[in-house]
Point group: C2
Chain length 346, copies 2
Amino acid sequence: MNDVARAAGVSMMTVSNVLNDRPRVGEETRRRVLDVVADLGYEVNLTARHLRSGRTDTVAFVVPGFQTYFDEIADRLAAAFGEQGRHLVVESTGARPENELAALSSVRLSMYDGVILSVVGLTRAEIEGVRTTAPLVLLGEVEVPDRFDHVMLANAEGAELATARMLATGSRRIAVVGGDSEGSQDGGMAATRRAGWVRAHERAGLVADPALVAPAVGVGPEVGREAVRHLERSGVDYDGVFALTDSTAVGVLAGLAEAGRRVPQDVQVVGFDNLDLAEFTVPGLTSVDPGRDAVAQHAARLLQRRIDGATPEPEHVVVPVRLVERGSTRASQGHPPAHREPPRTS
Amino acid sequence: MNDVARAAGVSMMTVSNVLNDRPRVGEETRRRVLDVVADLGYEVNLTARHLRSGRTDTVAFVVPGFQTYFDEIADRLAAAFGEQGRHLVVESTGARPENELAALSSVRLSMYDGVILSVVGLTRAEIEGVRTTAPLVLLGEVEVPDRFDHVMLANAEGAELATARMLATGSRRIAVVGGDSEGSQDGGMAATRRAGWVRAHERAGLVADPALVAPAVGVGPEVGREAVRHLERSGVDYDGVFALTDSTAVGVLAGLAEAGRRVPQDVQVVGFDNLDLAEFTVPGLTSVDPGRDAVAQHAARLLQRRIDGATPEPEHVVVPVRLVERGSTRASQGHPPAHREPPRTS
DNA sequence: GTGAAAGCGCTAACAT
DNA sequence: ATGTTAGCGCTTTCAC
C-alpha cells in the first residue's frame, strides 16, 4: 500500500480512502490511485484491515455436519448476507459438543463479524457458561438460555401434524423412527418430536404404543432402514412410520421396499424437514415443512441487528411448520389439505 | 496479553511462548502463565497472530454450491486437516465464474493457509491468468493449466463403464440425462461423460443415437425428472438411462415411476458419484463410484505439501472410478461383477 | 480533500 | 530460560 501511495504521489491514507469508497477524495486523485492499483496488481491485506478495524465482512454458519438440511439453509444464508457484501463460510463441528463450545469461544467468534451456530450437543448449562458479547445467533432444537437469540422449529407441533395425518387416514400402529445426531444431549430434537407423536394419539383418543418407538442414534438413512428391518424381524404390527427426519425417512422407504411393504397402501410414511429430495423419492414423501426460508431469514435478521451494534432484547423465534402431502400418505377424504401438491402426470 | 504478562510477572514474549507450546519455557513459569490466562479468561487474537505470523491454521474448500456431493468430500477433508490441527471452512461460489475467480484472488487466498477450489465455470484461459503462489489445489472436471495441482475423476471411463454395463444386460436405447452446473463452461463434465457414453457404444459395435441426449443445464433431480417427462412426451424409444450425476438419477427414478416404467425391467438406470443416497433409492441405484476418499486424500496431500513450503512439480491426479451395482440394473450373467452389493434381505 | 502520527495484538529475531 | 525491540499492513484520529 505504501508502494501504491508513493507511485500515485499521495499518502497511504488517501489510498485507503479510495479503496474503501470513502467520500472525501478528489475525482482525479481517485482515478490516479485506481490506475496505480491496477498497474501494480495491489490487493488489500484483509487481515491487517481486520486487525485494525475489527471488521471481517465474513459470517460463519457452524453446523453439526455437512448435510443436506444445512445445505439448504446455508444457501439461503449465503444469499441473505451476500446482498450486504458479506461472505458466508460454513464450518462443521462433527456433532461434537467440544467443538460446538469451541465455536463459542471468543477465539473463534473474533474471526467473524458474526456466527450462527446450530446447536445439537450442548446442554443448557454449558451454553449458560458462555461469556461473549460477539454477534451470535443460536439455531436448533434445544433449550438455550434466555439471553441468546435463538431460532427453532415448532417440533412438537410438526410431529403432531405428521402423526395426526396418518391417524386421519387409517393408520393405528404408527412407529417413530430416528434419533438425535450422534453426540447430542437428551431433551433435544428426538424427545420433542416423539412427544408430538404421543400427543397426536392423545388428541385422537388413542394411546401411542411405546413398543413402536425405535430407539436410535443418528439422523441418516441407515437409521431408517435398520429400524424397519428391526420392526420386520420382531414381528411387531405397524401400519405407519413417522420418521424424525426426511433423511431417515428415505431409509425407511428403502427398508419398506425391501420388506415388500407397499407405501402408502400397507404403511404410510411421513418425514420431517421437507428436503428438496422429498419430492423425488418413490413414492413422494409427505413431510413436515419447517419453513427453511423463515429459519434462514430470522437467523440472518437477528444476527444482522447484533452486528449493527444494537443490544436489543434477545428474541426466541419458533418458526411455524406445515405439512406437505405427497404419495407416501393416503389421500385424505373430505376436506382437502391446504398444501397437497398436484398429482404427478405423465 | 499485556495484562497477562504483567499479572504473571513475565514478558509478553514468554506468554506467547507458553501459548504456542514452544519448548524453552520453565515448567513453573508455564504453570503460572496458564493460571493467569485461565483467571483472566484471556484468549489470543487470531487476527493479530495471522498478521504477524502469516499463519491462519485454516483451509478453505470452495465449492460451486452446498451439495451432497461436496458434503461428502468436505467431511473427509475436514477430517484430514483436523488431524493436523487445521480448520476447514466451506464457501460457495453459487457456481458463478466471477466468484470462482474471486476465490483465486490474492485477497481471498491470503485469508487461508491454503485453498481447495472446485472449478466448474472458469475457462482454461481465465485460470491461466491467475497469478498466485499461495497454496492452491484445483478440483473438478475441467482442463486447467499445467502449473496447478489438479485432482479430477476418470469421467470418460466412468461414463463408459456405466453405459457398457447397461449394454451388457440388454439395453440398446440408452438416454443420457443431465448437464453441467449452471454457469459452467463447455468442455466440462457433461461433455466428457457424454463422450464416454458414445465410446461405450463404439466399443460394442453400436451407434449412440444423438436423439437420446437430453440437453439440460443443471445437476439436480428436477433435471432428471424433466428429462424423463420429455422422453415420454416425445415418444422416443428408450430402455436405459445414464444420469450424469446421482442427484439427477434420483429425479430420473422419480420420473420413471410416475411414467409407470419399471426399473430395471423396462428401463435400467445408472448414475455417477455413488452418493451415500444411492444405497437408499428404490430400487438401489447402480452408480459410478468416483473414489471420494481418494479425491479428498489427494487434494489434502497436494495442498499440504504446498503449505509446507515445497515447490514441487505440479501434479495432475486422475482418480480411477469403479462401478457399484445395485437394483437399478439387471443382474449380469456369467462373470459376476467385482462390486455388486449383497442383495437386500428382509 | 489530504496527510501525519499512532497503534490494533501479536511474534520473529536477536539479545541477555 | 526469559526479555527487548521492531514491525506485520492497515485504519482511526486529528490536524491542516
